[in-house]
């Protein structure tokens, strides 16, 4: 007697990965940075730290978030980066008040208990990258090194 085995004909389940996309907040010809440069920074950060929570590129003087990339489960960093810009401006005031010559503010590290926030200023101080990661995914020093290598 022939044995007939019935094979399920359901198609295999496709696993669709939701790639986070970059949210833009500037008009194409505006401002202090080329959109291509912003995109490069954000894409490079995401490729080196795929588990990051948020990476944003922010204008220092206004605190405006030029563009950001967040995990699907993440949050809109706009209020956080505005406060970050305020922190940066305050530190720049400290530098001015103390007449620091030949000094440059490079980065600010804010380790919270369950999140690490890192601010890395560009050489000209006009914009900065704001990175939020979980300490389980990457250590503070590693996040700092990665940020340093991308935003010189």
């Amino acid at each position: 007697m022939m044995e007939i085995s019935v094979v399920s004909t359901k198609p295999p389940k496709k696993i669709v990965r939701i790639q986070p996309s970059i949210f833009w907040n500037i008009s194409p010809n505006e401002g202090i940075l080329f959109p291509k440069k912003i995109e490069k920074v954000i894409k490079k950060m995401f490729s080196q730290l795929p588990l990051l929570i948020t990476i944003a590129v922010v204008e220092t003087s206004t605190g405006k978030c030029l563009a950001y990339l967040s995990q699907p489960s993440g949050f809109d960093p706009t209020p956080a980066v505005a406060c970050g810009a305020e922190t940066v401006r305050q530190q720049q005031q400290v530098m001015a008040a103390l007449n620091m010559r030949g000094e440059r503010l490079e980065d600010i590290l804010i380790p919270f208990r369950k999140q690490l926030h890192l601010i890395r200023l560009a050489k000209n101080g006009q914009w900065f990258g704001y990175l939020v990661v979980k300490p389980q995914d990457t250590s503070l020093a590693l996040a700092r090194e990665v940020l340093k290598s991308i935003i010189l």
């Binding site: 380790p111 300490p135 250590s139 503070l140 020093a141 590693l142 700092r144 090194e145």
Partner: protein, 126 residues
């Protein structure tokens, strides 16, 4: 990095430097944050801060591997990495929250002396 010899980490770096003046780089690193507490490099090509950050990942991954294998009664004492011309030694403290990172030239340094120096100075760190 200029280090203060008033701190335990700074003292360790100074002791290692005194015993192995021909070393390439040395750093005392905190495992949780990956930050170097004190460091010194004799070579412009090795930035001890960067090295500390990435090598912390090595230590953490190994600690994760041990947890996954349920090796709870074992601790990592040291990790020795042999490169073409260099030796990288990572000596963990007994409680595993700091390590000394040492880079030496394989041809110029006696491995036994290097390991002994690390073993004795790691006890100073808590």
């Amino acid at each position: 990095m200029p280090y203060s010899t008033n701190t335990p980490a700074g003292k360790v770096v100074q002791d290692v430097l005194n015993d192995l003046p021909g070393l390439v780089a040395v750093a005392v690193v905190d495992v949780t944050s990956g930050m170097a507490l004190a460091s010194h490099s004799n070579s412009p090509s090795i930035n001890p801060e960067t090295a500390a950050a990435y090598n912390t990942e090595v230590v953490r991954q190994k600690q994760k591997a041990m947890t996954a294998l349920k090796l709870t009664n074992e601790t990592i004492e040291d990790i020795l990495i042999t490169l073409t011309n260099q030796l990288h030694l990572l000596k963990l403290t007994p409680n595993g929250n700091k390590f000394i990172y040492l880079v030496v030239n394989s041809r110029e340094t006696n491995l036994a002396i290097a390991r002994e120096v690390l073993r004795s100075t790691a006890d100073q760190l808590n």
